[in-house]
């Protein structure tokens, strides 16, 4: 499964204050997943947004990672590819013994859609 260029298209990466990275992405409304989620009413699957976070962390760290645990992930608003064509993935990635601690959120100018805390291992 690779969501880059099937579910989303990367626009750019910015270094924000502190050690926060911002990945700007555009959602691709023609992604096949919308055939089933849901027929005639496209809604972004929450797990696809979590997977998008993982791909951004992999790009940032340059390593293939495993997501053995999600401490907490709050999905506070529904995302549709029509209403949210562009999104920001904010990441704070801290190295740990076996991998990285990741705090992430997905938002746009209007609101935050998803907040994630978890560990990804090498």
């Amino acid at each position: 499964m690779i969501l880059k260029n099937s579910y989303y298209k990367p626009i750019c990466v910015e270094q924000a204050e502190g050690n926060e990275q911002i990945f700007r992405i555009a959602l691709l409304p023609d992604c096949e997943i919308y055939n089933g989620h849901f027929p005639g009413r496209p809604v972004c699957p929450g797990v696809y947004n979590i997977q998008t976070i993982k791909e951004c962390v992999e790009q940032y760290t340059g390593r293939t990672l495993r997501m053995g645990g999600i401490r907490q992930c709050r999905l506070t608003a529904v995302i549709t590819p029509q209403e949210c064509s562009e999104l920001e993935v904010h990441l704070v990635v801290t190295p740990t013994e076996g991998g990285y601690r990741v705090v992430a959120r997905i938002c746009d100018e209007a609101q935050t859609y998803l907040e994630y805390k978890g560990e990804m291992s090498v």
Binding site: M1, I33, N35, P39, G69, V78
Partner: protein, 140 residues
């Protein structure tokens, strides 16, 4: 034996349909089954599912359980629910093609359309993933 055709219980369809059958359901507990097949959208290059597949499978297992309850109460369409929160998700094994996922869902109380639940997925009787989750069904 399965209870209803799965498409009568969940609104998801291919390519993201991640539950095959609702096998058992009581008031607060249900068991589902899912076989990993080639072509699954969550399969990674190493031939195993991404961990997020297990989150989705547990969510859809809960959705099938909720759909069954709604059917028993006379609903004609499966309810559309969204994942509101995932907590304490752990995945110790990434299933591969041919693996049979058996998942037990324990459903908690519903408050304002939000239901707290927990799910445990097993392959060959060994636990492979577990999570707590809140599912939100709008308009309830």
């Amino acid at each position: 034996m399965s209870l209803f055709d799965i498409k009568e219980l969940v609104p998801q369809r291919s390519p993201i349909l991640m539950v095959d059958e609702l096998l058992q359901a009581t008031d607060d507990e249900a068991i589902t089954r899912f076989v990993v097949r080639s072509g699954n959208v969550f399969l990674s290059a190493d031939g195993r599912l991404e961990e997020t597949a297990l989150v989705e499978h547990i969510a859809q297992s809960a959705s099938a359980f909720a759909g069954y309850k709604a059917r028993m109460e006379g609903a004609t369409e499966p309810p559309v629910g969204y994942i509101g929160e995932i907590k304490k998700f752990l995945c110790s094994y990434r299933p591969q093609v041919g693996d049979i996922l058996m998942t037990t869902i324990e459903m908690g109380a519903e408050v304002n359309g939000v239901t707290l639940l927990s799910g445990v997925t097993r392959v060959d009787d060994a636990e492979v993933a577990r999570t707590q989750m809140k599912i939100f069904v709008p308009g309830k």
